[in-house]
């Protein structure tokens, strides 16, 4: 490696005497003493969340309150820290309008102690069922508490007002004989 | 009151002096030396020599003992091995002890109780700071100068002593350029 000799600029007398510099520094700090606080009193004041913020991953329902996830397990595969664990199951019998979807998660766990908030699950989801939303403060007293189960995920996620209804359209097409 | 203080302070001084001598750990010895000095300073206060008491603490406790501790901690602090004394040492100690004993004994035998109240009649000459300055800069001006010179010499001596001397071969290498 080439050695680069950096010549230090010669210091003036006032710089070598420290004192004028120190006094200037003290003037600056004094200015800061009277400047308003730059902090946020957190639990009372909350920061504004910008759009596109990646908070806690949640599961969402469609506007009719139906489960969107079809337990394809893509998110489970893509998750870098392996935080997501899905147990596939059948669509519950009390939801006849979703019977043709065939699959729904029986269990959907996200271990928030592993999650790295990368957002790959949201990217990969073909059903737009998993979203990283605005929630950022998550705490618990035990490791078990830090694993978000399915109901908790739906509770956090709520309903998103998208109007795709992919499976409804598919069913309608089937019924009207528009075969693929 | 004063007599009680005298007894307590002299007891502290002497007991801690004994502990300086018998302690095998040098750090303990230094701490007891410090305690002994504080006791002596207390005795100075009883003798109305306030200035000397605080100078003693400032010089001895503030500088000398902390220097001692500094050096003890930098060097080895292993307790001394218990080795038998040499015959000469034993003989000298016995002789010295005997001499001291006779000296102290003669002092004690000559002891006559001082008349109570006679001592406070004497002016506490050591209490006023001005008296020290007057003596130091009139009668003892020459010794002050000599002592000042001694301090200078001691300082130079310490600087020379604590300089790390170079090894002979490296010195010969350097001497070409500088000598």
């Amino acid at each position: 490696m080439a050695t680069v000799t950096v010549s230090r600029p010669p210091l003036t007398l006032s710089e070598r005497a420290y004192l004028p510099q120190i006094l200037a520094g003290m003037r600056i700090t004094l200015k800061h003493l009277f400047a308003p606080n730059v902090t946020l009193s957190y639990p009372e004041q909350r920061p504004a969340i910008p759009p596109g913020y990646r908070g806690v991953p949640t599961l969402v329902m469609d506007p009719h309150g139906r489960e969107k996830c079809v337990s394809c397990q893509l998110c489970e595969f893509v998750c870098p820290p392996k935080a997501i664990r899905i147990t596939p199951g059948a669509v519950p019998a009390d939801q006849p309008d979703r019977a043709h979807v065939e699959k729904a998660p029986a269990a959907f766990d996200i271990d928030m102690l592993r999650c790295i908030y990368c957002g790959l699950c949201q990217e990969v989801c073909p059903e737009e069922a998993i979203f990283l939303q605005n929630d950022y403060s998550l705490s618990g007293y035990s490791r078990d508490e830090m694993v978000n189960h399915k109901d908790r995920l739906y509770e956090l996620g709520g309903t998103l007002p998208d109007q795709h209804f992919k499976w409804d359209k598919k069913k309608a097409a089937e019924e009207h004989g528009n075969q693929h | 009151m004063t007599d009680l203080l005298f007894l307590v302070l002299s007891a502290v001084t002497l007991v801690s002096a004994v502990l300086v001598v018998v302690n095998r750990n040098a750090v303990n010895a230094a701490m007891f030396f410090l305690l002994s000095l504080v006791g002596t300073a207390g005795l100075f206060v009883l003798l109305d020599a306030y200035l000397l008491a605080f100078v003693l603490i400032l010089v001895y406790a503030g500088a000398v003992v902390s220097l001692f501790l500094f050096i003890i901690m930098l060097l080895d602090t292993r307790p001394e091995a218990q080795k038998p004394f040499k015959k000469m040492t034993v003989a000298a100690s016995l002789l010295g002890g005997l001499l001291l004993f006779t000296g102290v004994l003669s002092l004690v035998l000559r002891f006559t109780p001082a008349p109570v109240g006679a001592d406070p009649a004497l002016a506490p000459v050591g209490a006023s700071l001005k008296a020290y300055a007057e003596q130091l800069f009139t009668t003892y001006l020459l010794p002050v100068q000599v002592v000042g010179f001694l301090l200078l010499v001691a300082m130079l001596g310490v600087i020379v002593l604590s300089k790390r001397f170079q090894e002979p071969e490296s010195r010969s290498q350097n001497s070409g350029g500088t000598a």
Binding site: - | D3, L14, T40, L43, F68, V104, F111, Y132, V147, L151
Partner: protein, 102 residues
């Protein structure tokens, strides 16, 4: 009860001096020997101050200044010598510092 007069102070001073003296004779750690030397100096200052107080003169008190100064100088030089010795010989025990004997 004992009355603290000149004799008592001189007695304390003599005992202190004796203790220092025995320390110098009996101890083998150079640093402790040095401390005992200092103890002897302190004992002498105590005697001087006591004499000065009970005779009503200043000379003893003034001499304490000189003793303190010389003690400080002595400690500085002495400790520097001990450190230099330790660098050379890696010991501060007097019995192992006997190279001039052979």
């Amino acid at each position: 009860m004992l009355h603290a007069g000149l004799e008592q102070y001189v007695l304390v001073s003599a005992l202190l001096f004796a203790l220092g003296f025995f320390g110098v004779l009996l101890r083998k750690n150079t640093l402790v020997i040095y401390m005992c030397l200092e103890l002897m100096l302190v004992a002498s200052t105590l005697a001087l101050v006591a004499f000065s107080r009970f005779n009503g003169t200043m000379d003893g008190n003034v001499f304490v200044f000189f003793i303190l100064t010389i003690a400080a100088a002595e400690v500085a030089v002495g400790l520097a010598i001990i450190v230099a010795l330790f660098r050379q010989r890696h010991t501060v025990q007097v019995e192992e510092l006997n190279h001039l004997k052979n």
